[in-house]
Symmetry: C2
Subunit: 259 residues, 2 copies
């Protein structure tokens, strides 16, 4: 397939590499910053442009890998006559945003991408959606060369997956940073907490999270909870997050025991 | 060393095994439930008791591995004349709670223990504290046979480590369960989110969390944030946690850019 990448960020980079490694040709890379377009294009044996009007019209697939916020604007500026499949990769964006194109779809990877962190996509789940069933089949076949875990998911299911990923990835990472800051305040290195972070992630690979929940809230140990809240009394944001998540754990336990 | 385990839960089990495997003798296991004491004692070639008065007085080390809430009560009931070192393993409990004993200390593992999940303790950090410097040395030497990462830490530092572990482990696990429930509501399996959970934990093994923070809040993408909040409008607890952690991420980014 001939592929045009619209965007030069984390997703465009990781997907572009995967497309190239599975034998496809990246015919063009667009970014509003020409240097970024050219840098990624160089990596992918392609050419860069900063003009949406200059995007070639003969590709088989156009991947819109830009920030969610600008997908509608970029879609509006692309030529309506594109023959190829136009897809975005956004979890929180409805397929309808691509309504003007003859062939529209979504390939949503449930994964976290950082430019600096290399990633094997084989085990990354991809939720695929297209307006036309024939296009769904095309996308499933196409993506199956990259990942073993390609499946069809509706726009609503994709929103649920995206939100689940935000809780499980973005938010837990934000809590890791709280741990980092807490340790730093007491002259302790983050290294102390790295093994438990890995162990926490490994535990839920074979268990439902609630089955391996531990900690003061899970024992409804209000004495320890109060000590903790007191310990971070100078940081109301941390206190409030501590209280809310502890309440959730306590409430969940109570609901379980009632069943 | 001759060791008495006070408690038969996750920590007593994992530590007891580690003590046995490094050549020590578990002379007794106490639990208020005799069957639990006997079950763990059997595993450790030891004998069980449910009477604190029956605890032998000639051991070198007494490990109080009971719930934080009952440590003071159990300490009060143990004979004052114990010659050996009496230690607890609690992150949130001050060493002072063992004041009545001649030799008092703490060995705090920064790790999450589940009975059903086997664990290699070699890389688990242990924060050690004792009232007397000689006892600190004894504990450091003793624990270094089990872990490569034994260090001295004050009661205040231990509280910081414990709280950091609560944020990084207990709370992120609670968020994994939110993800589980969200997916289940939309007929999607938790398996979809397991790779991203592992990737999130692996990313921070070599990075500061803030350096790999992604997601709508990290981009201050209020449009997506509002879509997400709308999507979980039937669950005010989830909404509130979503809002608090997103605010924290946004605020942190703003502080960074000001620097």
């Amino acid at each position: 397939m001939k592929i045009v990448l619209i965007g030069s960020g984390n997703i465009a980079t990781h997907m572009g590499k995967a497309f190239m490694h599975t034998g496809h040709q990246i015919v063009q890379v667009y970014s509003r910053t020409l240097a970024n377009a050219q840098a990624l294009a160089k990596l992918l044996n392609s050419t860069g442009t900063d003009s949406l009007e200059a995007v070639v019209d003969h590709a088989d697939l156009y991947l819109l890998a830009v920030s969610d916020a600008v997908i509608p604007e970029v879609a509006a500026q692309l030529p309506q006559e594109l023959e190829g499949l136009v897809v975005h990769a956004s979890g929180a964006t409805h397929i309808d945003v691509l309504d003007k194109f003859r062939h529209a779809g979504v390939i949503y990877p449930i994964q976290t991408f950082s430019k600096s962190v290399d990633l094997e996509l084989t085990e990354t789940p991809f939720a695929v959606e297209a307006r036309e069933p024939a296009d769904t089949s095309t996308l499933i076949t196409f993506m199956s060369a990259i990942s073993n875990r390609v499946f069809e998911g509706s726009s609503e299911q994709r929103m649920a997956m995206h939100l689940a990923a935000v809780f499980a990835n973005n938010f837990s990472n934000a809590l890791f940073q709280v741990a980092y800051d807490l340790l730093a305040q007491h002259d302790l290195p983050f290294d102390l907490i790295r093994p438990i972070i890995l162990q926490t992630a490994e535990k839920v690979q074979n268990n439902e999270p609630r089955a391996v929940q531990t900690g003061p809230a899970s024992r409804n140990d209000q004495n320890t909870i109060n000590k903790h809240l007191q310990f971070i009394s100078s940081n109301p944001d941390w206190q409030s997050i501590y209280q809310k998540i502890s309440d959730l754990i306590v409430k969940r336990k109570e609901n379980n025991s009632e069943n």
